[in-house]
């Protein structure tokens, strides 16, 4: 018997709600805290993050032992707000909860002396609430609601600095995401009129009407993918992402690794697997064009990254490219490709957040924003650049870092499905990744340092970790998160075959999608 269908304990029904509340309540309370209530704010944020992580760990234990978590809240006549935790949603939940914790630590350090911290952390927590809501959505309506909540809660983070560039970036972001929301809603409503349900199901819920409404289903698929594709930064809907780099580094890290972009990619996965079903989508001829869009995005993003001197913009275009690995894996119909796509959801998030943390450290400590300013920075900030090096090599797909595992399964999956062109796309992308990451490493480690920051900055406080190298690097609140995530990037690759690794979890999800009767 499928363990997901066994009845659950009554108390456990509250767990999904508690996961939401663990960030919602702190977020709402933080809004009303004065700017000087630093310790209270930090306790609320960190406490909520730890609580969320603990609850997610409890649910992992439960799911592994056959427990099922679902909450239904009546919303409309035939439609409920459904929060459900299964294998796929748990994967995204773990990513979101874990990275929210490290990002919170980082943000506390980054915004130490910045204004409007209560506003920032309030929306920060609401953003994560929306993200976990997306992860736990049990039907398309719930997904749409939290997806749109994500838009509304990330906009204030994006424009936090209040500069003209930030406002412009916010306008572009809203224009893209609101339009996408309209498309998503239209697709959802249309689908509901045809099927009478929006509840996610293994292998989808459109198979009964697929023969009678193929054209409509194709149009609905396009609307839904366009709706989530904006946040997933699929070309040509990606334009908001590079502009969004004007936001503070914690926001960039959150947007790229956890919240917005990942939510978009996760949406693609849900639509293909749990709305249409991957085999049904393939029968309707939908996966081929999706794979093509993903392939174009992968190469385009890498090419654009090559020409950027601004470090965060280069990382942004890298994200455009890398997130489409997930879409490619999903669109290549086959269990191994699915494994590659799903596991990359986790791997890319962890590696990319490391890169953005490091970029933030360079900007905050040394005022470095451009790659051309990074000569010799490895001598000045060896730990930060060490973390950057690990994450960058992972992006290229160098073993034993996590990115290699993703590319291995994507390549194998393409061959299993009988299509070779994704292999060439992955090869070209890896080459381009090397072309735009290796020069950064070469400049950082092997060139002579820039005279203006070769000496420690006046007033820089030596941190406990930096003192190990007998020179101050940066505040430990900024240093610890990228070290942790870099170590995770390495461990997830090195121990990919261990139980409960991201890879093993992805294998379980793919098995469910392709092999359960």
């Amino acid at each position: 018997m499928n363990p997901l269908l066994e009845p659950q304990l009554p108390a456990d029904a509250l767990l999904p709600l508690l996961v939401l509340v663990s960030s919602l309540v702190p977020g709402l309370v933080v809004f009303f805290l004065g700017e000087k209530r630093v310790r209270t704010r930090m306790l609320l944020n960190l406490g909520g993050a730890f609580l969320k992580l603990g609850l997610v760990a409890w649910m992992i234990w439960g799911v592994v032992h056959g427990q099922r978590y679902e909450v239904r809240l009546p919303l409309l006549d035939d439609l409920d707000l459904v929060l459900r935790v299964g294998a796929l949603s748990l994967l995204f939940l773990v990513l979101s909860a874990g990275l929210w914790l490290v990002t919170t630590v980082y943000a506390v350090g980054y915004l130490e002396q910045a204004p409007h911290r209560s506003r920032f952390f309030g929306f920060f927590s609401l953003c994560v609430t929306a993200t976990v809501g997306v992860a736990m959505a049990g039907n398309l309506l719930t997904f749409v609601l939290f997806f749109e909540m994500l838009t509304l809660t990330t906009y204030p983070l994006l424009v936090h600095r209040g500069t003209e560039a930030a406002r412009q970036a916010g306008i572009v972001y809203l224009a893209h995401t609101v339009l996408a929301g309209v498309l998503l809603l239209a697709g959802t409503v249309w689908l509901y009129t045809l099927t009478g349900t929006l509840t996610f199901a293994p292998r989808g819920f459109v198979s009964e009407i697929a023969d009678s409404h193929p054209g409509e289903l194709t149009a609905i698929f396009a609307l839904l993918i366009a709706g989530v594709g904006v946040k997933a930064a699929l070309v040509p809907l990606h334009g908001w992402l590079p502009r969004a780099m004007v936001a503070p580094a914690p926001v960039s890290a959150l947007l790229h690794a956890v919240a917005v972009v990942k939510a978009g990619a996760f949406g693609v996965v849900l639509i293909v697997y749990d709305v249409f079903g991957v085999e049904q989508a393939a029968e309707l001829g939908l996966t081929g064009p999706l794979a093509l869009v993903a392939g174009v995005t992968i190469v385009y993003g890498s090419l654009r990254a090559l020409f950027q001197d601004d470090l965060k913009r280069r990382l942004a275009f890298s994200t455009v490219s890398q997130v489409s690995y997930i879409v490619l894996g999903v669109a290549i119909v086959g269990p191994l490709a699915s494994v590659g796509g799903i596991v990359h959801l986790v791997h890319q998030g962890i590696m990319k957040i490391t890169l953005f943390f490091c970029a933030g450290n360079l900007a905050e400590t040394l005022g470095i924003h451009k790659i051309s300013e990074m000569n010799g920075v490895g001598r000045r900030m060896p730990w930060t650049m060490g973390a950057f090096t690990i994450a960058a090599l992972g992006m290229i797909g160098v073993p034993p870092i996590a990115g290699f595992i993703s590319k291995w399964y994507l390549g194998l999956g393409a061959l299993e499905a009988g299509v070779h062109w994704p292999l060439y796309v992955l090869t070209a992308s890896s080459l381009l990744n090397a072309a735009y990451f290796l020069p950064i490493l070469q400049a950082a480690w092997l060139r002579e340092p820039d005279a203006r920051w070769a000496e420690p900055m006046p007033g820089a406080q030596p941190s406990p970790i930096a003192s190990w190298w007998s020179r101050p690097e940066t505040r430990w609140l900024l240093l610890l998160p990228p070290l942790v995530t870099a170590a995770l990037s390495l461990l997830l690759g090195l121990f990919a075959s261990m139980p409960f690794s991201a890879l093993e979890w992805s294998l379980l999800i793919a098995e469910r999608e392709f092999y359960y009767p």
Partner: protein, 556 residues
């Protein structure tokens, strides 16, 4: 040195000690109290590996939870290469004693060493790729990040991608990930020729095979002395050894692959001579000798593929031959250079000894092949002569008194490498005799032409190096000039493409911006917006929208 026979218990863990010890030192660097001690130990970090190579029993250590499931294997071929790699890294460490005072440098040194020591023990492709990465990327830093090492790194990236493709194709065809399974699958597949080409390109690049050698001479010419041993170790362990393990020697005959490798050996040898003799830098010349050796080595592998009867003998001797000629070449690299008036004869003698060690190694590899074949393929003989020429030419030190003499430590280290190589050669003699005794009805007749080609070629090369001293020089890496021009052209083309895209994007944004501004300036829009801001109108519109949604949402 024993045949493979796995041991259980503590000896099984010894292979893990080899790559882990440098990593343990690296971790210890974090903690200030012991940092001084760690920095003093770093140059000697390869010593445990040498001890394991010499004294540890054969072992297999499966690690199914690591990466995609890997294993470490200490067998005969791995043992020889491990000994050579350890010696070369000890030589590098000795020369880098003063340079390793900075933790940052020690980190790169230890990482590269860990990967290099892992390579001889890796028994599957994923761990070979991982070890190769670990060995190559920090090695780039040790080499100084100059032009040659940049080319090396770029080449390694491309080579690894080709190898990954080949591995995926093999796995998709049903092969396991370990070398034995991959080799067996390789022979049976229809696409084996393409796979063979991919593997040759990938590992051949790292081995500096002629045609893929463009990085080797510039790297060796520019490298500091301390990095010469490690760079040579990389060629042996990341390039040559995996091919020995992967190619299906002893299996069904594969005449096409055998012929291809034999002819590649000849063409490569001739090319190496043509370009190598005209090198300005003695180290570049020695690098070409190494490339010629790699080509010959592959030719011998080809002989094993074409004539399976000779493969048993080859498998028995090639690992030791590889180790010995690696030591000889590294010693040549260190000894090569200009000696001043004082000590010139000693330096020349050292260079000759180094070349002789390499030649003995090659001869040792040739003997069983020559003895067990009715006739040695003449491409192999031609390649052998070319190797002899290049080794002889490399042994000739330039007598230019204007140049700086080779530093004392370099020469002493070269002498130690030669001495170690000769000791290992003595150890290898019993195994040679054993191999010869297993060959049915072997004859010395084919051996004499081989010796003539090798040593005669050496004499010719030694004389030619002086005779050609006034000829026009060829840039180190020869092909590299063409590759760099092609890449520069591509970069310019991409730049222009990027600029073109930017122009069109700016135009598009200009047009949309104009439209947006035009819309914003329209008073009609202003007026409509003001009307919309009234509660009554907004509420009515919301109700209409809600009714529309409700109508659409009704089932049926």
């Amino acid at each position: 040195m024993n045949a493979v026979g796995a041991e259980a218990g503590l000896p099984m863990l010894l292979p893990a000690l080899v790559p882990l010890w440098p990593l343990a030192l690296l971790v210890a660097l974090i903690f200030p109290p012991g940092r001084g001690l760690v920095l003093r130990l770093t140059p000697w970090a390869a010593l445990p590996a040498l001890l394991v190579a010499v004294a540890a029993p054969p072992a297999v250590l499966p690690l199914p939870r690591l990466l995609l499931g890997v294993s470490l294997r200490l067998d005969t071929s791995g043992r020889w290469l491990l000994a050579a790699v350890a010696l070369l890294w000890l030589a590098g460490g000795w020369l880098a004693r003063g340079w390793l005072c900075e933790p940052r440098r020690a980190v790169a040194f230890l990482l590269a060493m860990s990967g290099a020591l892992w390579l001889p023990l890796a028994s599957d492709l994923p761990s070979t790729l991982t070890a190769s990465v670990l060995a190559a990327y920090p090695l780039y830093g040790l080499l100084g990040g100059r032009r040659g090492s940049r080319v090396l790194l770029a080449s390694v990236v491309v080579a690894d991608l080709l190898l990954l493709e080949a591995t995926l194709l093999l796995v998709q065809a049903g092969a396991g990930l370990d070398f034995e399974a991959l080799g067996e699958a390789l022979v049976e597949l229809e696409s084996r020729n393409i796979l063979f080409a991919l593997l040759l390109l990938g590992f051949g690049t790292k081995a500096g095979l002629m045609g893929l050698h463009y990085w080797l001479a510039p790297t060796m010419a520019e490298a500091p002395s301390r990095a010469l041993g490690p760079a040579t170790a990389f060629v042996l362990a990341a390039g040559l050894l995996p091919l020995l393990r992967l190619l299906p020697l002893g299996g069904p005959a594969w005449p096409l692959a055998g012929a291809a490798l034999s002819w590649l050996a000849l063409v490569g040898g001739v090319w190496a001579v043509a370009v190598g003799l005209l090198q300005a830098s003695p180290r570049a010349r020695t690098a070409y000798a190494l490339s010629a050796l790699s080509s010959l080595w592959l030719g011998l592998l080809g002989l094993g593929l074409a004539v399976p009867a000779s493969s048993t003998a080859l498998i028995g001797v090639l690992p030791s031959a590889t180790a010995l000629f690696g030591l000889g070449v590294a010693a040549l690299l260190l000894a090569g250079g200009v000696s001043g008036r004082h000590g010139r004869h000693e330096a020349q003698a050292l260079a000759l000894l180094s070349a002789l060690l390499a030649m003995l190694a090659v001869l040792g590899a040739m003997l069983p092949a020559a003895a067990s074949s009715d006739v040695l393929h003449w491409p192999i003989m031609g390649s052998l002569a070319c190797v002899g020429i290049m080794l002889g030419a490399s042994a000739r030190l330039p007598m230019d008194a204007e140049r700086r003499p080779v530093p004392g430590p370099d020469q002493r280290t070269a002498a130690l490498l030669v001495a170690s190589g000769l000791c290992l050669a003595l150890v290898a003699i019993p195994s040679r005799v054993e191999v010869l005794l297993t060959v049915d009805a072997w004859s010395v007749d084919p051996v004499i032409p081989a010796m003539t080609a090798l040593f005669g070629g050496g004499g010719v090369g030694f004389a030619a190096a002086a005779a050609l001293a006034r000829w026009r020089r060829v840039p180190a890496g020869d092909l590299l000039i063409l590759i760099e021009r092609a890449i520069a052209g591509l970069v310019v083309a991409f730049d222009q493409l990027g600029a073109g895209i930017a122009v069109w994007r700016d135009r598009f944004q200009g047009v949309t911006g104009q439209i947006a501004r035009g819309i914003a300036e329209q008073t009609a829009i202003d007026g409509a917006e003001k009307r919309l801001r009234r509660w009554s109108i907004a509420t009515v519109l919301l109700l209409i929208l809600g009714a529309a949604v409700a109508l659409l949402a009704r089932p049926g």
